[in-house]
Each structure stands twice: as structure tokens, then as C-alpha cells.
Amino acid sequence: MRQRLALITAALSGSVVLLLLFFQPVAGAYLALVLNWAIIVASVALLVAIASLLVTHIRFIAVGRRGFIYSFVLITAFLATFLPGLFKGVEDPGYLGWISAIQKPLELSLLGLIALVMMSAAVKLFRVRGWSVLTVSFAISALLFLFLNLGLSDWSGNQIFSTLIDAFLRLPVIGARGLLIGVALGALLVGFRVLIGQESDNE
């Protein structure tokens, strides 16, 4: 019964939102109301998830679980971020500078790693996946755009090259459009399945 209740709730919620969207000119206020509810629920869910994370790591520290030192670091970092923001406000320049001084290098180093990873992947691509239409077309398009973005020469002076390059630059549109249609179809299918109750999250 509990599962059915969740299914019914999900299906009803989706149906109501769809109906309100279709009849938005007359039901705009109700649509805003429902969306506000969803926002509140999502926000509370975030708080619950954060609380769960903290409680879990506090428990790890309390029981002395292996690697609890990382839990200690997590709790400390959380408090060091949360408490100043709470007392000084999120618009305080000192607070913003301190946060960004930590966060920016961390994320940038992660992104920098991607370049190395991509390079390694380029070497292994054919060894792992072999020769196929997909891998060959992937390699050709990668080489083409890498070469175009080198910026070694200006091709705009030559009409033929310019037209050719324009055609190449439009190539991604074809693939992206096909992929987007496929993904949209999949999303539509998932949405329908949620609406008719075939997708249950809490089973």
C-alpha cells in the first residue's frame, strides 16, 4: 500500500503539473503554488541529506572507524565554511575571498587533470575499442576540429576553404540534433512511465 501510495502521488503530481502547464493562462497561480511546494521539498531534502552526511561521519568518528580522520576533516571543513557564513554573511568580501581561494584551485586542478586524462584516453581509444565506424569517425572529427582550432592560418580569404570550413563546422549540428532527438524521446518515455506509475523509486 505504501508503494502504491508513492506511485499514485508521483503520478498525480506529474499529471497536475502537466495540466497546470497546459492551462497556464488560467491556472498560473496554482502552478506557482505547486512549484513552490516542490522547491520547499527539494530544499528540505537537501538539508536532510546534509544532516545525514554529518551524522554519518560523526558516527564514524565516534566509533573510531578505519579512516575516521577523513571524517574529521570533513566535519571541520563543514564547520569552517558554515559558521563564518552564518555569522559574517555570504556577501562578506573576506568570506567570499577565503572560500573562492580554496574552491577555485581545487576545481581547476581537477579540470587540468582532464587534459591529461584525455590525452591518455586518446592513446588507448583504438586499443580498447578497436577499429569501428564510431571510433574512426570520432578520431577524424577530433583531428579536424583540433586542427581548425589551432589558429595557424586564416582560411577566410579563400572562398572554397571558407565554405568547406563552414560545412565542417556545421557537422556537429547533425549529430547533436540526432542525439538530442533520441535523448528527448528517452526522456519522454521515462516521463510517461512515471506518469502511468511504471516507475517506482521506493520499491
Binding site: 508503494q3 497556464q24 498560473g28 497561480a29 502552478l31 506557482a32 503554488l33 512549484l35 513552490n36 516542490a38 522547491i39 520547499i40 527539494a42 530544499s43 555570504v90 568580501p93 567570499l96 575571498g97 572560500i99 573562492s100 577555485k104 576545481e107 581547476l108 581537477l110 579540470l111 587534459a115 591529461l116 584525455m118 590525452m119 591518455s120 586518446a122 592513446v123 588507448k124 581509444l125 583504438f126 586499443r127 580498447v128 578497436g130 577499429w131 578520431a139 583531428l143 583540433l146 586542427f147 582550432n149 589551432l150 589558429g151 595557424l152 592560418s153 582560411w155 577566410s156 570550413i165 563552414d166 563546422l169 556545421r170 556537429p172 549540428v173 549529430g175 547533436a176 540534433r177 520499491e203
Partner: protein, 740 residues
């Protein structure tokens, strides 16, 4: 189980002991004339003492029922019609009386005669006795015997039923004001709608209702269960021993045919001769069938616990307690009943099985003895009803139902069945185990709730994967060459560092893309005082790439005197955006509004309306600025995620189609944004460093062009290297194959 020796009748001809009700000697077939001594015509002290206390009313009832018997009635009518016949009977009566005058008349006989005279019963007694004598001497004596035996059996059964009912009512009286027992009320609570229908049909059954134990409680049933188990074990032992003995010795007590088989043994001829009895049996059978059928629920209502036994499921309880989803066919059910070992028959409903098991054993004995006529066999049946009295008393309903089921399933002649019974049999036979059976046909104890089925499936899946061989372990044979990776990484880093350190950065000659040109055109259309909404959605990791493109845009807008409003749904963008604004020295009082709820918040602002009854939480959060999407002329999305841009264009932008939307994003998102630019949903966009040139930016202000080119060159080389290595591997393999 066995008769008492003092009740046996010894045949005067051969000395064989016979049961008291036996009409003929089972050995020599000689008629035992002195059987009917209860009417006072014959006397023995023992019987006199035993019957003296018996009131006369039951006897008169018995005789009245004899009169009502159609077989006798016809005969009596025939005898009554000719006057000579009556006279002759009167003469014979006088003769008997005269013979009796020679002997001393006991007091009881005098009383009987006096009462008979008063009630004019003497004539009936005399007439009945004479009629019986005449009938016995006639060719149709068998019919009389059969009718009489049937009446006797019914009388005994009725008395036994009354005894059992009385005893149970003394033990328990847990019925409600409607007369419904507790078990029935509990079933109704579980299945109220179905039970109402059941009640109607049971009322329709009328007679069959009496056959049910309507006053049994759980405790009683539990007690009965224990009692029956012990009794059955004892009886089965006795039965086995008796059967062995009776095969070897004189079968005086072995003619035990359970009442279960009575209907089975009825032949069509007998049915014709016994219409009333047959009809009554059919009525009972129909009622019981209906009741038994109704005990099968139509809805998957509940799993009744195993310890909650109720009579309506007597047959169903015979089913082995296996997690079986579908009920077997009735025929199979019967087979199961007969094939069940005694150890399996521990439940009260196993009365049926026990009886049938015994009957199967005793049928052998009966067949071996070859009774001379059917009347003798029926006597044996009557004996059985006496012999098995405890069983019948304890499980009357089971016996009744088993009678009906036996009559239905064990090859009862079709003429003897009710149409309903036939339909039921056909319906049951039509069941196919291979086909899915609806929950209406599933026994309640075998029903699984959906949740239970899913749990069972989960456990089955978990068990099923045990021992299943893992097919291929991913990348198991791919050895990671960490040294090669290190070399590649060092090569890339070295190339970039050298490019940064040596020589000035050259101006890149990057191609101008249509979408970037369109973006600039859109930006140039903005006039002074126009409202431009800037939505921030990027992370710290991509901030350098994003901000390099955003700064000139913000500067342009500031110069044009556009009214800028910044919003974000990313908490990180609160400080990232502030840093961006501060770095460019843009409007100091420019505030970044946080929109809670992410895309839901944006959708609410775009599609929602202010309710008349009050303000919503989101409205209160934006109380100072109002709806940022209202009355905007342009929207510029600054996002490192193509998915965010897509969500905006598909869900938010359609609600404000007059607002032109453009975007600043990363190079990785470029390919996915192109279709939206082609369709006109996006006025234009700039994505990453390659589009920076269109913003009249010198690329060296964004990054070192030489390092950029070095990195791109290394990537091209590595990609080509990978292809060459693969081709080399393939050629080596081919060569190896050729050599082999």
C-alpha cells in the same frame, strides 16, 4: 471401531456372528427374523431393558416415516385397496394375539397395546409389522430392506448430529446476535463483500447450512485438531490391524464402508427407487458444493495464518502446505487426498482423507467378501456409521463436505447430480495449470500479496545469482602502463610550459563562427535603459574560461547603459559573480539574487502567477526585486553546462517568447547548443576560447596563444600515435598468425 460382542446376533443356522442390524447372515444368507424385536413382538431381557426407557414417540415417528416411505406407501396402498386383504391381515393379527395369550404378557407389552389402542397405533403397528413380513416374503423384499436401511441410517445420523451439536453448544456458544460464529465473522471482516454473497447462497442452500459447524471457535478448532490427530493415529492403527486381521479371519466386523462412499455406490436403479432420498442428497450436495466453492475467495484479500482453520476450507486444507500459486484440479485434489500419507493428515479437515483412506482399505475387504446383495452392503454402511461414530461426531461438516465432494468427484453417475454440481465439475476440470489462474481461483492460503511476490522475486534473484559464473571481468587483461601515462603527461606539461616561457604569444587566426557573430549582433541591439537579465550558472573550475568571455560582455552592457539584473541558482555563483563584478569595477550596487529551487524556481517565475490569496515563499524571497523575469528585454545565460541552457530554452523561455536569449558557455557545450541556434531559440552564443575573437578580444588577454597551440598540437600527435600503435599491433598480430 469394533462392535461389542453382546450386540452381535448369532445366526441360528451357521452360528456366524452378525451385527445387530444385519437382515441376513453374512455367511449363509439366512434371514435373521428376530431382528425386529423392538416392537415388542420378540423379547429378550437385555433388549427389553435397553429399550424400556426409550419413549414411544420416536418409535411412532419411525413407523410414521415408514408409512411415508413411498416404497412402502405404494405397497400399502395396494394392500389397502382390496378388502380381502385387510381382512386377512386382521385374521393374522388375531392369530398372533391368540398365540400371545398362551404366554404370560409382560407389563410393558400391555402398556404398548393399551397405548396403541388409544392412538389407533396398534393397528398401525400390526399392519406395519404384517406388511413388513409380507414384503419380506415377497419378491420385492430387497427394496423394502433398502428403504428401511436408508431410513435407519438417516435416523442414526440425525441423532448423532444432534448429539454432536448439543455437545458443542455446551462447550462454546460464541455466536453473535445474527447467529454467526466467530470464525465466520472473522472471515467476513477479511472479505466482507464476498462473504455477503456467500451468506446469500448459503441461505439458498437451506439444508446445507445445517451441515456446517457454525459455532466453532479457534480454540475449539485447535482442540479439535489435536484430538483428531491423536484419534486418527489411533484409528489408522486399528484400521490397519483390523484390515489385516479381517482378510485372514471371518469378516464379521470388517464390512466397513464409510458413508463417504454411499453416494458413490448408489446405482441409477436405486436412484429411481429412492427419489426422495436422492433429491435430498442432491440438495445437500448442491448446497455443500456451493459452500465449498464459496470458500474459495475471489479477491486476493489476505494471507490467512496457517493456524486459522475454518471449516469452509476443509478440502482446501488438504492441500499440502507448499508455496503453490495455483490450486490443483479437483481430480488431482482427490488424488492427493487418497495419496496423502497419514502423517500428512494432521489437520481437522483430514477427516475426509482419513475416511477415504480407510475406505480405500476397506473397499478391498468388501470386494473380497463379495456381499450377496446390495442390502447387505448397505448394512455394512450402516455399521460403519456406527463404528466410526467418533469421527463423524467430531468432524461432521468435514464428512458432509467430503460426501459431497466424493459424490461429485468420484464418478457419481451424472443423473444423480445437480446441474450446478455438473457445472462445477466441468469448470474444475477445465482448469489448466499451465494457464495463468486468476486470483479468484487461488486458494486464500496460497495467495501472495504483491509485496510478498516482489519480495519472493527479489530473494529468488539473489539466490539465482549465487554461483553464477562471472562472464568476463572488465579490463582484466588490460594492464595499466603507468610509466607511459607519466611520460605522456610530462610531455604535455613540458610543451605548454616551454610555450609559456619562450617567445611572445602570437595572435590566433581562429575561424569566426556564425553563432558567435549572431551573439555579438544581439548584444549590439541592446539600447540604453533596456533591461537585461544575466543568469549565472557556472562552477569555480570553469570560471576562468567563462569569466574571460563574460567580462567584455558585462563591460559592453555597462557602457550601453543597460539595466542589468543578475540572478543565480548556484550558491557558488554568489561569490563567483561578486568577484567578477568587483574585478571589472562594474556597478557597485549591483546585487546578485539567489533563486531557490534551481530550474524549478526559474520555471515558477516564468510560468507562475501571483496568487490573489497571498504571496508565495518565492515571492517573499524576492520581495525586494520582484519577479526578475518580468518585463525583461534580453536574457544572457552564463553557464558552463549545455544542459542548463537546454532546460532554460525548453522550459523557461517558451513562457516569455518575446525575450531574446543568448548564451556564454564553454567550448565543450558548443556542439550541443548549435541545434538551438539553428532553430532560432537561441539568438547567438559564444563558447570557449575559440569564440573569443569575435568579441574583439585579443586572445592573448585570455590565454597564451602559443601554449594553446602547443597543447593542441600535442593532442593531435597523441591521437595519431594511438592510431598508429593500434595499426602496428594489428599488423604484428597478423604476421604472428601468418607465421603460425
Amino acid at each position: 471401531m469394533s462392535e461389542r460382542s453382546d450386540e452381535l446376533r448369532i445366526c441360528p443356522h451357521c452360528g456366524q456372528e452378525n451385527s445387530p442390524q444385519t437382515l441376513r447372515c453374512i455367511r449363509c444368507g439366512q434371514e435373521l427374523e428376530d431382528l425386529f424385536q423392538f416392537d415388542g413382538l420378540g423379547s429378550s431381557d437385555t433388549q427389553f431393558e435397553g429399550e424400556a426407557e426409550t419413549p414411544l414417540e420416536p418409535m411412532s415417528d419411525l413407523l410414521a416415516s415408514l408409512d411415508e416411505d413411498p416404497l412402502l406407501g405404494d405397497r400399502q396402498d395396494k394392500e389397502d385397496e382390496p378388502s380381502g386383504g385387510s381382512e386377512s391381515s386382521e385374521d393374522e393379527e388375531n392369530d398372533q394375539n391368540q398365540v400371545g395369550f398362551d404366554k404370560p404378557i409382560p407389563d410393558w407389552l400391555e402398556k404398548v397395546r393399551q397405548r396403541a389402542q388409544e392412538e389407533n397405533a396398534g393397528g398401525e403397528l400390526a399392519q406395519g409389522g404384517q406388511a413388513i413380513d409380507q414384503l419380506r416374503s415377497s419378491d420385492e423384499r430387497k427394496q423394502v430392506d433398502a428403504a428401511f436401511d436408508e431410513i435407519m441410517r438417516r435416523i442414526r445420523e440425525q441423532s448423532e448430529r444432534e448429539k454432536a451439536r448439543l455437545s458443542r453448544r455446551v462447550e462454546s456458544d460464541l455466536v453473535d446476535e445474527n447467529g454467526d460464529p466467530e470464525w465466520l465473522r472473522r472471515i467476513r471482516a477479511l472479505q466482507p463483500r464476498k462473504e455477503e454473497e456467500d451468506t446469500k447462497e448459503l441461505n439458498f442452500g437451506g439444508s446445507s447450512q445445517d451441515t456446517f459447524f457454525d459455532d466453532w471457535t479457534d480454540d475449539e478448532l485447535e482442540e479439535l485438531l489435536q484430538k483428531e490427530i491423536s484419534q486418527y493415529q489411533a484409528q489408522s492403527d486399528e484400521t490397519t490391524e483390523n484390515a489385516v486381521e479381517q482378510k485372514e479371519t471371518e469378516p464379521s466386523e470388517s464390512l466397513i464402508v464409510p458413508p463417504v462412499l454411499e453416494t458413490k455406490e448408489v446405482t441409477p436403479d436405486e436412484d429411481e427407487d429412492l427419489p426422495v432420498e436422492s433429491e435430498s442428497l442432491e440438495d445437500e450436495a448442491a448446497g455443500l458444493l456451493a459452500a465449498a466453492d464459496e470458500s474459495t475467495p475471489e479477491d486476493d484479500f489476505h494471507n490467512i495464518p496457517d493456524d486459522e482453520f475454518y471449516e469452509g476450507e476443509a478440502l482446501e486444507e488438504v492441500e499440502p502446505l507448499e508455496p503453490q500459486a495455483f490450486p490443483p484440479e479437483p481430480v488431482q485434489e482427490e488424488e492427493i487426498q487418497t495419496e496423502d500419507s497419514p502423517e500428512d493428515l494432521g489437520e481437522p479437515s483430514d477427516q475426509t482423507d482419513s475416511l477415504e483412506n480407510e475406505s480405500s482399505e476397506q473397499e478391498l475387504t468388501t470386494e473380497a467378501l463379495e456381499p450377496e446383495d446390495e442390502g447387505q452392503a448397505k448394512e455394512a454402511e450402516i455399521n460403519l456409521s456406527e463404528v466410526q461414530e467418533p469421527e463423524i461426531n467430531l468432524a461432521e461438516t468435514s464428512v458432509q463436505e467430503s460426501e459431497t465432494e466424493s459424490a461429485e468427484a468420484q464418478e457419481v453417475e451424472p443423473d444423480a447430480k445437480e446441474p450446478e454440481a455438473e457445472e462445477e465439475t466441468q469448470a474444475d476440470e477445465s482448469l489448466n495449470l499451465d494457464e495463468p489462474v486468476s486470483t479468484e481461483d487461488v486458494l486464500p492460503d496460497l495467495l501472495l500479496l504483491r509485496d510478498q511476490r516482489e519480495r519472493a522475486k527479489t530473494l529468488s534473484n539473489i539466490i539465482g545469482q549465487e554461483g553464477k559464473r562471472t562472464i568476463s571481468v572488465l579490463h582484466e587483461d588490460v594492464k595499466q602502463n603507468k610509466f607511459g601515462r607519466l611520460v605522456l603527461a610530462l610531455l604535455l606539461l613540458a610543451g605548454i610550459i616551454v610555450s609559456l616561457l619562450f617567445g611572445p604569444g602570437a595572435q590566433a587566426e581562429l575561424p569566426l563562427t556564425p553563432h558567435a557573430i549572431a551573439f555579438v549582433d544581439t548584444l549590439n541591439t541592446i539600447k540604453t535603459g533596456e533591461k537585461v537579465l544575466i543568469v549565472l550558472d557556472y562552477q569555480a573550475g570553469t570560471s576562468y574560461e567563462i569569466e574571460a568571455l563574460s567580462r567584455p560582455v558585462l563591460k559592453t552592457l555597462d557602457e550601453k547603459g543597460a539595466e542589468i539584473q543578475l540572478v543565480t541558482a548556484q550558491p557558488a555563483d554568489l561569490w563567483l559573480g561578486r568577484l567578477l563584478l568587483d574585478a571589472e569595477g562594474l556597478q557597485k550596487d549591483l546585487k546578485i539574487e539567489f533563486i531557490p529551487g534551481g530550474k524549478l524556481g526559474f520555471l515558477s517565475l516564468a510560468a507562475g502567477a501571483q496568487p490573489e490569496w497571498g504571496s508565495l515563499p518565492l515571492d517573499q524571497a524576492l520581495a525586494g526585486v520582484g519577479n526578475p523575469l518580468a518585463e525583461m528585454d534580453q536574457v544572457i545565460l552564463i553557464s558552463d553546462s549545455a544542459e542548463f541552457v537546454r532546460a532554460w530554452l525548453e522550459q523557461v523561455q517558451p513562457w516569455n517568447p518575446s525575450i531574446e536569449t543568448s548564451a556564454i558557455s564553454t567550448a565543450a557545450s558548443s556542439a550541443l547548443l548549435l541545434p538551438y541556434f539553428e532553430s532560432g531559440q537561441l539568438q547567438g552564443f559564444v563558447a570557449g576560447i575559440p569564440d573569443s575573437q569575435v568579441l574583439s578580444l585579443e586572445t592573448n588577454l585570455v590565454l597564451n596563444q602559443r601554449a594553446w597551440q602547443a597543447g593542441m598540437m600535442i593532442m593531435i600527435i597523441i591521437l595519431l600515435l594511438g592510431m598508429i600503435m593500434k595499426a602496428d599491433d594489428d599488423s604484428q598480430k597478423k604476421q604472428g598468425e601468418v607465421i603460425q
